[in-house]
Symmetry: C2
Subunit: 260 residues, 2 copies
């Protein structure tokens, strides 16, 4: 790299996650790092922020080119408080989030705390990338191939940056480096979860419900959908826009809805 | 109305919010209602779902054409558990969320629990609309004009339904019925919050941080942006897409990022 940049690092699995250590290793050759990660796991927190209770922010560790902090809130809170406390003069050059223990493809994008952080980054004008490994939430997952392929993607990102209103969503297959078939651009695939709740009865006779479920793939044949590409052994890259206005429907409905 | 429909009602301010009662009144002439609302206020919860703790679901009240339930989770949890427990055979015809005590325009769309519920509705194939009143979170806000204007919008919605992958975001200005200037289609406006944290010291000498902030309008002159239209006295309607893939960037970056 020609020029060292300042990189904001966060995740949703929390400060102790192996995926965060892997992400730190992946991006460290590119610049100086400020890590602000959640104290507790925050999977499924989407773009949630904490309004009703105050946050704490602690220094975790500090060495040359790598400062680590812990925040008691969500991934979005980590980005908000990190940018406000450490980058009030000059924004970071890049925000990276992950590496998530679990895929963030298809409908998972909607719930993802990893990608909530990248949406927050884009809103505040910081180029942002989320990384996720398609592993069944294994805390001891192997991130070696993510580091290799993530660096290839970062190099291209820095040479040809995306539009500033777009965050990048990268998903890695959980296979060894030499079995990865390549890197493919994709779109967000279609699918949803079914059988989502397991109903149980507590010792006092009252019902409670665990969120669970299995993924229903609504387009198993689509070769441009992120979830299918990852399942086939490709690294998928999807650019997502922060502005979710559906412009064609603004136009169409604007012409047919009549208000007297 | 020709045909009574089955409507799922939820919100993010919780079962006791005045805005939920107003929404119930707004949509009651259109069909039979099943309300599943959060037990506690869930503002700013976006598309968050509850993974690590189980949920409770209680019956709140029941009368002809109107069943009310309370769920201990987020707005997305309310939609998930409500659809799974009460609509496993036949989906509701419509989902409505709100009326939020506070605007959900511009960047607020990203954080909104009201709109998290509508995103979840669309994911599960239920046509979904979010309603919000641009009031500074006043618990005793006046929703009278929302009821009048919301019904006009619902009538058009049912005659000319939006695309099934789009949820509708309606924001009302907080002014009397006869001062509303009209209903306008819009796009998601540009802006963000600044001065977001108030740092305090606790009695034990440790710092903590309250999320606060003021909105920075990045395009105060734009007359097609939802936040400006509402400030000018219009009801704004924005269609939002669930699939947030930025297709032009898939194409453009796909051509310039080179992987060896």
């Amino acid at each position: 790299m020609n020029k060292k940049i300042h990189i904001f690092v966060t995740n949703d699995d929390g400060i102790s996650a192996k995926g965060l250590a892997a992400l730190t290793e992946m991006v460290r050759p590119f610049g100086a790092l400020t890590v602000v990660a959640p104290k507790e796991p925050q999977s499924g927190m989407s773009g949630a922020m904490t309004i009703g209770t105050p946050l704490r922010l602690y220094e975790h560790s500090r060495e040359e080119g790598l400062e680590r902090y812990v925040c008691t809130g969500t991934p979005v809170d980590c980005v908000k408080i990190g940018l406000s406390q450490f980058f009030s003069e000059q924004k970071p050059d890049l925000l990276v989030s992950g590496i998530n223990h679990g895929a963030n493809t298809s409908a998972a994008v909607f719930y993802s705390g990893t990608l909530g952080a990248t949406g927050e980054g884009i809103l505040y004008g910081v180029p942002s990338i989320g990384f996720s490994l398609s592993t069944p939430h294994n805390p001891d997952a192997n991130f070696d191939s993510c580091i290799v392929y993530g660096r290839k993607i970062l190099e291209q990102y820095l040479i040809h940056p995306p539009s500033p209103d777009v965050f990048i969503n990268v998903n890695f297959p959980d296979i060894p480096n030499d079995q990865i078939k390549g890197i493919r651009f994709a779109r967000q695939g279609k699918g949803a979860w079914i059988k989502e709740f397991e109903k149980r009865r507590d010792p006092h006779g009252y019902d409670y419900y665990w969120l669970t479920g299995e993924f229903r793939n609504d387009e198993p044949e689509a070769l441009d959908a992120d979830h299918n590409l990852v399942n086939l052994g490709y690294v998928s890259i999807v650019p997502h826009q922060f502005d979710t206005t559906c412009y064609p429907e603004v136009e169409r409905l604007g012409n047919v809805w009549k208000f007297l």
